[in-house]
Amino acid sequence: MRDQGSRKDARPLAVAVAVAIVALALGLSACGGGTVGGGNDEEVTTAKAGDVAGALTISTWPGYVDPGKNGTVAEFEKKTGVKVDYIEDVNENEAFFGKLQPQLEQGQSGGRSIFVVTDWMAKQMYDLGYLQEIDHNDLPTVFENLLPTLQSPSFDPERKFSVPWQSGMGGIWVDTAKAPGIRSVNDLFDPKYKGKVTMLGELRETVPLVMLAEGVDPVEATNEDWLNAVDRIGKAAESGQIRRFTGNDYTEDLTAGNIVAAIGWSGDASLIENPNAEWRMPTQGCSLWSDNMVIPVGAPNTAAALGWMDFAYQPEVAVDVTEYVEYISPVEGVQDILRERGSELAESELTFPSAEFTRNCTDQDSPPDLEPVNEAWQAVITG
């Protein structure tokens, strides 16, 4: 009886508690409300230069610099006294952007002072007002040593907000023991290799390569061309021709011998433990891209960020980076130093591709109307 009584008495209290909860929820929501997306409306700022000291946080791709005790990062720390937090949390441009976008929208960089992202992503961030501009006077070494071919890319003709970290090529990795004949992206659709082929999940990497293979110039391609290529890939995925869509982890499938070929990047040899694996320039051409250092809005210690950029553009430093990562260096003079050191990399078409080697290659581009193409592409990937 006593129990029942107390329950009855408690009813108004229960209502009061419920009301309090709702009120609290609404109150909290008021702090975080407003619009979602739409870009940062504040005026574009220029990254401030100054004393290179303090702490610096960099977000980048895995294996993109030697983080070891005698590596490039340690050298910078020793020279400047800056404490570097080097995070390898960029695995895919889209996913990285997706994770940080809500913070960037609020004018915060998640404590990071530098991101390393691909050309089109740098442009997308800049257009949304998520990046700071860079004054060339603050980066004398960078602009003295930046390769002429990289000085005015179409996405940032004056290099106002991006500084290349490394460049690379998208093409085909082939297990030469199992599929010596694969030379074109079209060969990846050969039923002989059913279920033994992977492609990258990056829209701007895989689809242009397939368009090139079909004789379509990705730069001139219409939305329909993009959708046709997506459709072709979709049918191959449905039939089981394509085993799966990957990020950088295609290297694991090549190492384990699960696949005979993959669409992949030119500098990944060090990640593939398979002596028969070979990167091949697709017959109809490759994709060319750079990953760029950018300074996000709200970045702490931009002075140290600029200091790191200028430091990395000294040829003696850049050469160490090249020897470690085996991608294409944006710094003039690296090849000469490598020759002096007697490194094989100096003569490799993968680290120093000639104009002849990349004659059919194309810059990474977005489709004219991104949304429908991306939607179709994601439908293929999560088919």
């Binding site: 209290l13 739409g38 997706g98 999560t382």
Partner: protein, 288 residues
């Protein structure tokens, strides 16, 4: 009764309520609000009661939702078939090895979920010894594979959620009054009859709890499909991830998440109504 006395239960509820408000009510509110916005990343998403996000988020994704039911359902049944005998053996036959065996069930948790799943990628890779054995036994065709198939995803789900099935079953079996089984046998039931009529009904609460703890997380899981699956094996979790991170269609991602929660809630309620015992209706304590 004084006001103070009446407030005591609420005071005791306080920490739990606060937890629920901060980590459940508030996020749900934000998600619900997001699900009713429309726009694009460049123009911004504005709140305008865009109910159409809900039907839109389902279109083109029904196949993955069906697949999620199929995969999670199969994994739950497999986990039950594996876990029940295992929990039974640990509870009644393990003797002094009982703690050790229980520890063995929990031990995989000392490694992160992701690492364990990636390890299966190596174990199931095309040229692995396990796959050659399966090929020799003709369980897998000679040129067939295990990795990047539906089978691999289901196996991964079963493996990863098995402890969630074993532990409630064990807790339930361990409390089982064996005198009731003896009584059944005294009344001339066979072992099988005693199991079906006494043990099984008495362990239904454990089964229900295990099925829920396995099915619900397995349904929303996307790691197994991403790591162990290939093309045509994406589950609804992968779709939500893609909507959120790759298409940045936040409203539709939120709407789809909401719908999946509602769907699971309905399925689970129906399940508890029919399969359930008093355990979840709050009447279990009355037996004592």
């Amino acid at each position: 009764m004084s006001l103070r006395q009446r407030l005591v239960p609420y005071g005791l509820l306080g920490p739990g309520l606060l937890w629920l408000v901060v980590f459940f009510v508030v996020p749900m509110y934000f998600m619900g609000e997001l699900a009713l916005r429309s726009g694009s990343l460049t123009s911004g998403y504005t709140f305008d009661w865009a109910w159409s996000n809900f039907p839109d988020s389902l279109s083109g994704h029904t196949e993955q939702i069906g697949r999620s039911f199929l995969f999670a359902g199969t994994a739950t049944i497999l986990a039950l078939l594996i876990a029940y005998p295992l929990a039974y053996a640990i509870a009644f036959r393990a003797g002094r090895y009982r703690s050790l065996l229980l520890f063995a069930v929990i031990a995989p948790f000392f490694t992160t979920y992701l690492i364990r799943t990636i390890a299966w990628k190596t174990i199931l890779s095309d040229s692995s010894p396990l796959v050659s054995v399966l090929q020799t036994l003709a369980l897998v065709p000679p040129d067939g594979r295990v990795l990047a198939t539906s089978g691999a995803v289901i196996a991964g789900l079963t493996y990863n959620f098995l402890p969630f099935m074993v532990l409630p079953l064990y807790a339930n079996l361990e409390r089982l009054d064996l005198r009731l089984v003896e009584a059944a046998k005294d009344l001339y039931s066979s072992s099988r009859q005693a199991f079906v009529r006494v043990t099984l009904p008495l362990t239904m609460p454990g089964i229900v709890a295990g099925v829920l703890l396995t099915f619900i997380p397995a349904f929303g899981d996307y790691i197994n499909a991403q790591i162990l699956g290939g093309t045509q094996q994406a589950m609804v979790g992968n779709v939500i991830q893609s909507l959120y991170l790759n298409q940045r269609n936040y409203p539709e991602a939120a709407a789809l998440s909401f719908l999946m929660m509602a769907l699971i809630l309905v399925v689970v309620s129906v399940y508890i109504r029919f399969a359930g015992t008093g355990a979840f209706m709050g009447s279990e304590g009355e037996e004592d």
